[in-house]
């Protein structure tokens, strides 16, 4: 009997419940979606790493004999080691003006799938037995340029232009996220590709007979905690051969991006649902309080008839349970749809041989169970209140609401200036603090979500502006394979289309301060440099003094030094003499651990007069094509990049995913704000049927009556909005702090425009909800409302 009553109560309150169910559905949906995406990525990552033997460490060297590889293999804890040749070159594609960067990697002629970081063939057949000048291209690069197996590609190797036949396209666990290295923010498949060439051929043509310049290895399972110590030993072993970098898996760029994404999905999969289900519980709490209040006569009667407290309680909890189940099941469906949408975005970022796609039934069940739990918790308090009533008392209708002055009325000047409709709205707001608080919390969370997303959107663009417009002011950068003299600078100045050229000296080195140590690249800039201007976050330029280093604030923090302190500097080149150097200043930076010095001073530190290994150019855009042609012929060039192209590549990749996340955030935020507002308004309309009816009889139009509820919602929204900004600010700081790594720091930009947009969106939620409020008011049977007895 009571079950039937539950069903009918649910049906009667369907309109109001829709809001709660929607919030629960979004909560459960985000849990299922994020959880599913996280598990798929994690499972795909693990399967890939296992099946293709993802390396545990990388050592970059100048040139080491292969015998050292055997020595490393004998170290305890090492499972397998391989030496290979990795060599950046400039690529010349027939239909592309711009010189592109290719990373040559040596691979065995057969069984290249079985090496460490095995090469996974996507298209084509692999190397043939008889031909040597064959290449397997990274799949994204091939697709970006519409290259097929059978096509030809030209590159400059050891000052000779060589033509290669593409025999396949491939992916690799090293490049799940196709970035060149630590400094890259996003994949740029148009301008960067991997080229696997036969190892014997590579050694031959690049002068690495029985030698390598990169060692990759895997450790015995269980040795992970001792990896850093092992790497130290390997570094000492390799020291004679010039170690540029030694990286454990944890610092490998692709792995780091992928793992960070998986980790952050895991965190979001807890935080988002918690917010939504929490709000749903609050809203349901308000709603159930009202439902039980309205049904107190019925409850009293049931009790008088002999229903036990437990039966009545169960009846009302069932009400909550059904709401939770409905939301949970809807959430499951939403979650799966959302997960498939997310995976289609991830597919463009992360290259796996296969995505281990799954529907995880336990996740779905958990989503439903958590939804139901929150909903029952939400229903608990309202139901509990009724139990405290004695049957006779419960059967008596509730005493009429008392009117009374609220605090604001003491501000007489202000109060008297407000219309009676504002008085009604304000008093109603103050009269139900729980209801109002729920509305304010929901709006605050909703707006904070939007604000936070917009702040990150702004911050990302600020970061791009900072990096590409303010700090790196050159149009094009050329990287050189070997140190060059001033003659190379003059050569660069004479390249077609070059308005100005400045030398750059990059020196890989160890910086030590006490027991703290970091391996970084110091960038040496000419005394009159204008094409790279180190700047603080507020864009004020930082002057590079003639002596001493300028450290990124993060690097200074990691080394525990400040301006005036001394540290030791050991270059990974030349005679490797350790010198004591002074920290001249610190500077902000958001990417990597940059460090600057005067070019002449830095040359002196490595025992040279005036060296350079890169050149930055200011280019006349009209003559780009001529420059491109000339750069392709430069024998000593191993890297080339156009700042604006790089920027556009990043923007293209980031914008797509940011737009998707912004869209979903706004949608979710709308559901919270909208659901809670609608719930509050419909409850208020139910409570104030007599007022509405009376006003309608007096001659107020539905629109005017609905205006009172609009005022009420605007008050609540404004309060929520006021809270959302500090809340969003604190959340942004927390998230930025969580992202504060050696690799990346988030500049936080809070623009008034962002706050305004947030407020505008919040207001639009109120207005959309108002349409439904208006319809509810217009549909009110006010003749019936007048008959309600007190």
């Amino acid at each position: 009997m009571l079950a039937r009553k539950t069903r009918r109560d649910l049906r009667r309150n369907a309109g109001i419940l829709l809001g709660v169910v929607a919030i629960i559905a979004v909560g459960a949906g985000s849990m299922v979606a994020l959880g599913t995406a996280q598990r798929i990525l994690e499972a795909s990552q693990q399967a890939y790493y296992r099946d293709y033997r993802f390396a545990d460490f990388w050592v970059d060297l100048k040139k080491a004999p292969l015998t050292v590889v055997d020595q490393i293999a004998r170290l305890p804890g090492v499972a397998r080691v391989e030496g290979r040749v990795v060599y950046d070159v400039i690529l010349d594609l027939p239909d592309v003006d711009q010189p592109l960067i290719g990373r040559l990697m040596s691979a065995p002629q057969t069984h290249f799938r079985d090496t460490i970081n095995g090469v996974c063939l996507v298209r084509g057949s692999g190397f043939s037995a008889d031909r040597t000048n064959e290449v397997i291209l990274s799949d994204t690069f091939a697709r970006a340029h519409d290259l097929q197996p059978g096509d030809r590609i030209a590159l400059i190797l050891n000052r000779k232009r060589e033509s290669f036949v593409i025999v396949g396209t491939a992916i690799s666990p090293e490049y799940v996220y196709m970035v060149r290295g630590d400094g890259d923010l996003a994949p740029d498949p148009e301008h960067f590709g991997i080229l696997y060439i036969r190892a014997d051929y590579a050694r031959d043509v690049l002068n690495f007979q029985d030698a390598c310049n990169q060692i990759v290895g895997r450790i015995v399972p269980g040795e992970e905690p001792r990896l850093e110590a092992l790497l130290d030993r390997i570094e000492r072993l390799c020291a004679p051969y010039g170690v540029f970098a030694a990286r454990p898996r944890a610092r490998q760029a692709s792995h780091r991006f992928l793992s960070d994404e998986i980790r952050s999905l895991g965190v979001t999969a807890v935080v988002m649902p918690a917010i939504f289900l929490g709000v749903a519980a609050l809203v349901l709490n308000v709603l159930m309080g009202r439902v039980t209040q309205r049904q107190r006569t019925v409850i009293g009667t049931l009790k008088a008839l002999g229903y036990s407290n437990r039966q009545v309680l169960r009846h009302f909890l069932l009400f909550g349970l059904w709401v939770g189940l409905a939301g949970g099941v809807a959430g499951g469906v939403i979650g799966l749809l959302l997960a498939s949408g997310m995976m289609s975005i991830y597919r463009t970022f992360f290259q796996f041989p296969r995505y281990v796609t799954h529907v995880y039934p336990d996740l779905l069940l958990f989503g439903v169970a958590v939804s139901a739990t929150f909903a029952v918790l939400g229903a608990l308090k309202g139901a509990w209140r009724v139990l405290e009533l004695q049957p006779a008392e419960a059967m008596r209708p509730q005493p009429p609401e008392r009117g009374g002055a609220i605090y604001l009325e003491r501000v007489r000047g202000l109060w008297q200036r407000l219309s009676f409709r504002s008085h009604m709205a304000l008093r109603a707001t103050m009269r139900h603090p729980g209801r109002t608080a729920t509305g304010v919390i929901a709006m605050a969370l909703s707006a904070a979500m939007i604000y936070l997303t917009l702040v990150f959107y702004d911050s990302t663009y600020y970061l791009l502006d900072y990096q590409f417009d303010a700090v790196a002011r050159s149009d094009a950068d050329i990287g050189m394979r070997d140190d060059a003299s001033r003659a190379a600078l003059r050569e660069a100045e004479r390249l077609p289309g070059v308005d100005a050229a400045e030398p750059v000296l990059g020196v890989a080195c160890h910086l030590r301060h006490g027991w703290r140590e970091r391996r970084v690249v110091v960038t040496g800039l000419a005394a009159d440099h204008r094409l790279t201007i180190p700047r603080n976050a507020d864009l004020t330029p930082v002057v590079i003094p003639p002596e001493g280093l300028v450290l990124t604030r993060k690097l200074a923090e990691l080394l525990g030094v400040g301006p005036g302190d001394e540290l030791t500097f050991t270059p990974v080149r030349g005679r490797r003499e350790t010198r004591r150097v002074r920290v001249a200043a610190t500077v902000d930076s958001f990417l990597g651990l940059t460090c600057y010095a005067d070019e002449r001073y830095l040359s002196g530190l490595v025992g040279e007069a005036l060296a350079m290994n890169g050149v930055q150019l200011a280019v006349n855009p009209a003559k780009r094509t001529a420059l491109f042609r000339a750069v392709k012929e430069l024998p000593n060039a191993q890297g080339f990049s156009m700042q604006q192209d790089a920027r556009h590549g990043i923007e293209k990749t980031l914008t797509q995913s940011m737009a998707a996340s912004l869209g979903i955030t706004i949608l979710f935020a709308a559901v919270i704000a909208f659901g809670s507002m609608l719930n509050n308004s419909l409850i208020e309309i139910g409570d104030r049927l007599r007022e509405i009816s009376t006003m309608r009889v007096l001659g107020y139009a539905s629109r005017e009556v609905a205006g009172i509820f609009l005022r009420q919602n605007v008050i609540i929204a404004a309060a929520g909005l006021a809270l959302s900004f500090p809340l969003g600010y604190v959340l942004a700081r927390i998230v930025a702090h969580a992202y504060d790594t050696e690799l990346f720091r988030m500049p936080l930009v809070f623009r008034p425009w962002t706050a305004l947009t947030t407020a505008g969106l919040a207001l639009s939620f109120v207005l959309v909800a108002q349409v439904l409020v208006y319809r509810a008011v217009a549909r009110t049977d006010w003749l019936e409302g007048l008959k309600v007895k007190e």
Binding site: G699, A701, L783
Partner: protein, 240 residues
């Protein structure tokens, strides 16, 4: 809006009927009613509960439409008006008093009157309207701080504030004791006599009918009797 002049009736009901469909059953709440109300009359409609008197009041008050026949206000056919036009009509022409006062609990007496006075141009000042019902000194009280009689007087002030041409009262004393009822009826009678405010009271209480200038008896949706009362008694002589 049609204007009522002295020689035309203010309200004319012509063969009006109102049928409610309750599921499968049709119930005629009012059937074939004919009635005209002249300006300045004080009419009491008497009938037991369920007789259709509230439906009749709703038809006159433009809160409901007849399913047959017409309701005219002056020369204006209310039956033919749009919903917004009816809202506007109620706004300008009518004052309402309800059995349970229907004051907004979250507004003070003055603000409750203001709810009405803000609706029309040239309305009475809320304090002036409260003065007319003798409650100027309780203007800042909330309904919960007033007695039933006082609340009903606030409701009357609210009705008066719009300077209505017709006052409709649905069981105005239904929730009051005799003393308060006399007070409220006296007020209605005074407004009718001094200001010529056409008034229609519906009630099930025959004692009240004696203050009317005309008594209409309604039985099962039919107007059974319409009788002019030559000697209405003063409200303070009413007793039951």
């Amino acid at each position: 809006m049609g204007q009522a002049t002295d020689n035309t009736p203010l309200i004319r009901i012509e063969h009006a009927g109102r049928v409610f469909r309750m599921g499968e059953v049709e119930v005629a709440a009012v059937a074939d009613a004919d009635l005209s109300i002249a300006p300045g009359e004080l009419i009491v409609v008497l009938g037991p509960s369920g007789s259709g008197k509230s439906t009749l009041l709703n038809l006159i008050g433009a809160m409901d439409r007849p399913t047959s026949g017409r309701v005219l206000y002056g020369n204006l056919d209310l039956t033919a008006q749009s919903e917004p036009a009816l809202t506007d009509f109620r706004r300008r022409k009518l004052g309402f008093i309800f059995q349970f006062y229907n004051l907004v609990p979250t507004l003070t007496a003055r603000e409750n009157v203001q709810v009405a006075s803000e609706l029309v141009r040239g309305a009475l000042d809320p304090l002036e309207a409260l003065g007319l019902v003798g409650l100027a000194d309780r203007a800042e009280h909330f309904p919960a701080q007033l007695s039933g009689g006082e609340q009903q007087r606030v409701a009357i002030a609210r009705a008066l504030a719009k300077k209505p041409e017709l006052l409709l009262a649905d069981e105005p004393t239904g929730a009051l004791d005799l003393e308060m009822a006399r007070e409220v009826l006296g007020l209605i009678q005074r407004l009718n006599r001094e200001r010529g405010l056409t008034t229609l009271i519906i009630t099930h209480n025959p004692a009240i009918a004696r203050i009317a200038s005309r008594i209409i008896r309604i039985v099962s949706g039919h107007i059974a009797e319409s009788r002019v009362n030559d000697q209405p008694i003063a409200a303070h002589d009413v007793s039951w």
